[in-house]
């Protein structure tokens, strides 16, 4: 303020003409000009915070939500392994032992206006030999169509049948 005042005084002191008064008014206006320039600074903090939050959100989405690939590994004498790999490279695996697997089937479900098919593993109920304790659905993110599922189903059944025909080892010694 002082700087501007001294400038104004010197101008008016020279001659009291309109020119100096106009200059005085324009200096008064320019006094307020620095203030709007600090508002973009305030905006940039908001902007950088927004960008940061978006980045964090994206990383969380890629690491926990977006599944790139799902795979199924069936080993006749050991069990079935289901792997999902996320976009960030994380892999989550579940292994189900063959003793717990009752069967692998394709289930139909009515969802809203359409019928969807999904492959699932039926787990054996330990108390009841005919019962099913749990249903584990497979390929929930990729949701392949029926023709794909039928191929997978056929391959799985080939292996599961062999475990039924193989005699138990206690006799063979």
């Amino acid at each position: 303020r002082l700087h501007y005042e001294s400038v104004i005084r010197s101008l008016i002191g020279k001659d009291g003409s309109c020119l100096s008064r106009v200059f005085y008014k324009s200096i008064q206006c320019s006094q307020w000009l620095p203030l709007p320039s600090c508002l973009p600074l305030h905006n940039s903090m908001v902007l950088s915070a927004a960008i940061f939050i978006t980045l964090i959100g994206l990383i969380i989405y890629l690491h926990f939500v977006k599944i790139d690939q799902e795979s199924l590994l069936v080993i006749g004498s050991l069990g079935i392994q289901v792997t999902s790999s996320y976009a960030s490279g994380k892999e989550s695996t579940t292994f189900i032992e063959m003793g717990q697997v009752k069967d692998v089937v394709i289930n139909e479900a009515i969802h809203m206006q359409k019928v969807i098919y999904y492959l699932c593993i039926l787990l054996q109920d330990p108390e009841d030999p005919q019962g099913v304790s749990e249903v584990v659905p497979l390929f929930q993110s990729s949701q392949p169509r029926l023709d794909c599922l039928i191929e997978v189903y056929k391959s799985c059944q080939e292996i599961l049948e062999q475990r039924k025909t193989a005699p138990q080892s206690s006799e063979i010694k």
């Binding site: 690939q69 795979s71 069936v74 050991l78 392994q81 292994f95 990729s142 080939e158 010694k173």
Partner: protein, 590 residues
């Protein structure tokens, strides 16, 4: 969603009788030729190889050694087959020699594994002596990391019942075998004995000086701690502290409860009995780490409080804050005595209630001012107790808040009782209005004929109570809201204390640093295959997820949780019954 990008791994099994699984430790891949010792699990047709015994050896000594190991570990260890690691091409004489060994050690089936040169693909075959018809067996080689499997603890899924554990998990049998054979891993390659073994520890037994020193020092430390704790608990249980005013005080203060809880924890840690199983050990470790972190945070808080005499500043601001709260309350009451929110109150009742509460506030202020010279000293000494832990400091804070807002609690009780009386009076007089009565014996509403004068007085009273209802209801509403605010703040503090108490920090750190120790299961990876050679798989440990770790190893607390559901809480508020929203585990039911 990525459609269609999906692969199935299918092992094309030739039609065979049964599949033999050989679990081979990856540390023995580069061992010299010898014989394989391990456990044969016939129900699953799998062989778990524990170590390789090198040439030269005397078969009798080997059998003797295995007998000793079997006696100590109760694991059925035997010679399972032969292992040949030749740098050059296959030697015929060696292979015949190895077959002859099969006759000496007579195990059905005799497994022969051989590795040529630097080839990745091993050949594996079995010899069946007593089988009726020669069958071609399919063999699967599964590599496993011996040290990790030995140290890991398998967590079955939470819904398995007890009897399932026996027959269910083939994997748990394998983990069990390796874990119980620890004595086998104690002899290393440099021992002078007749047997030379290769296993994960064959280069010398691992030990650490710091661990040994800690183990030696822990026993006297535990005894000292037990003695001190017995002294403290003896004092706590003495008759002096059970006199009526004191025992009432202890039961109301949450600090005492938290201190008692921590005392219990210390007793668990300092007991001399070794942990029987994995769960007990993890529990002890969790309690120890939780206590350590708690005390560390408490000391940090204490140093921050006492550094720039912040506690003096705190004491100085306490009285003005209490004064300010009292002034705000006085303003509120003046507002209620006027025309609050434009509502018209009954002048006389309004003045009576307002003046009654104002007098109480005046009393409260006088008491606070009486205490003011002592506040700083009390606060200084109370602040010292923050070194017992951050949870204790938070509980003290919650208690101070409760003490400072005691007048709000009193007002709430007065307002609630008055309102409750009014509501009950109104409901019973309403029944009289309609000619009915509450039958206490039958717990139901019955009709009743009243006299004229009873009806007249009843109607008069009903009208009076009805028109005085808004005034009482407003006072009740205001004080209930204030009380709920204080209760919510206290509840949040207790929630934080609960969180610190129950979080299993040791388990979480273990999951972070040594994730193989907490196993949810295993995962297999198919390695490169060649026709004619057995299928090779790599077995790795699948660690438990963090959520499952917290759920399994959560420490039990005396947690406070909401006593009523939302519906019953609203009902109680409407009827004017006193609410105590948080219930502690040890409280007796109302």
């Amino acid at each position: 969603m990525n459609r269609g990008c999906m692969s199935t791994g299918v092992h094309p099994c030739r039609v065979t009788a049964m599949v033999l699984k050989v679990f081979f430790p990856s540390c023995c891949s580069s061992a010299d030729s010898g014989i394989l010792i391990g456990r044969w699990i016939s129900e699953q047709s799998s062989a778990v190889i524990l170590a390789v015994v090198h040439f030269p050896f005397i078969p009798v000594q080997v059998k003797q050694y295995l007998g000793e190991v079997q006696h100590v570990t109760k694991v059925n260890v035997s010679v399972l087959g032969s292992w040949s690691n030749s740098k050059q091409e296959k030697e015929e004489s060696l292979s015949e020699f190895l077959e002859d060994l099969g006759t000496i050690f007579c195990h059905e089936p005799w497994i022969q594994i051989s590795k040529e040169g630097d080839s990745k693909f091993w050949s594996c075959s079995t010899l069946q002596k007593h089988s009726k018809d020669p069958q071609e067996e399919e063999i699967i080689l599964v590599y496993y990391d011996q040290r990790k499997v030995m140290l890991s603890h398998l967590h079955p899924p939470l819904d398995t019942s007890g009897q399932r554990a026996e027959d269910a998990s083939k994997l748990s049998a394998i983990f069990d075998t390796v874990a119980r054979s620890q004595v086998l891993f104690m002899t290393d390659r440099y021992d002078e004995g007749p047997i030379k073994l290769t296993h994960w520890q064959s280069d010398g037994v691992e030990a650490s000086i710091i661990v040994e020193l800690l183990k030696q020092a822990s026993v006297p430390a535990c005894m000292l701690l037990t003695f001190l704790l017995s002294l403290v608990s003896g004092i706590c249980r003495s008759r002096l502290l059970k006199l009526w005013p004191l025992s009432f005080l202890w039961s109301k203060l949450s600090t005492c409860e938290q201190l008692g809880h921590r005392l219990q924890h210390l007793q668990v840690i300092s007991s001399n009995k070794k942990a029987q199983n994995q769960n007990q050990f993890m529990r002890k470790a969790n309690i120890f780490v939780s206590l350590l972190i708690d005390v560390a945070l408490g000391i940090l808080l204490m140093s921050w409080l006492y550094r720039k005499n912040r506690i003096g500043h705190l004491a100085d601001t306490l009285i003005p804050v209490a004064d300010h709260v009292a002034e705000e309350l006085q303003d509120l009451l003046q507002w209620l005595m006027g025309a609050p929110a434009g509502l018209k109150m009954n002048r006389a009742l309004d003045q009576v209630l307002g003046r009654f509460f104002l007098y109480h506030i005046h009393l409260w202020i006088s008491y606070i001012h009486l205490l003011s010279p002592f506040i700083e000293m009390i606060l200084w000494y109370v602040g010292l107790s923050a070194c017992l832990g951050l949870t204790v400091a938070l509980c003290i804070l919650s208690d101070i808040i409760a003490l400072l807002t005691f007048h709000i609690y009193c007002f709430y009780v007065y307002g609630a009782r008055l309102y409750c009386l009014k509501i009950y009076g109104l409901s019973s007089l309403w029944r009289l209005f309609r000619g009915k009565k509450w039958n206490v014996l039958r717990q139901r509403v019955d009709s009743c004929s009243y006299d004229l004068d009873q009806l007249f007085i009843g109607t008069l009273l009903f009208t009076i109570l009805l028109f005085l209802l808004p005034t009482t209801a407003l006072y009740y509403l205001v004080f209930t809201l204030l009380r709920l605010l204080v209760v919510i703040v206290q509840g949040l503090i207790h929630l934080l204390v609960d969180l610190i108490d129950s979080l299993p920090l040791y388990s979480l750190i273990l999951r972070l640093c040594r994730s193989y120790r907490l196993a949810a299961g295993v995962k297999f990876r198919v390695l490169e295959q060649q026709d004619g050679k057995p299928l090779r798989l790599l077995m790795q440990i699948n660690p438990l997820s963090y959520g499952a770790v917290i759920q399994t190893y959560r420490l039990p607390t005396y947690s406070c949780y909401p006593r009523d559901s939302w519906a019953s809480l609203c009902k109680k508020l409407f009827l004017g019954e006193l609410i105590y929203p948080w219930k502690h585990k040890g409280d007796k039911q109302n």
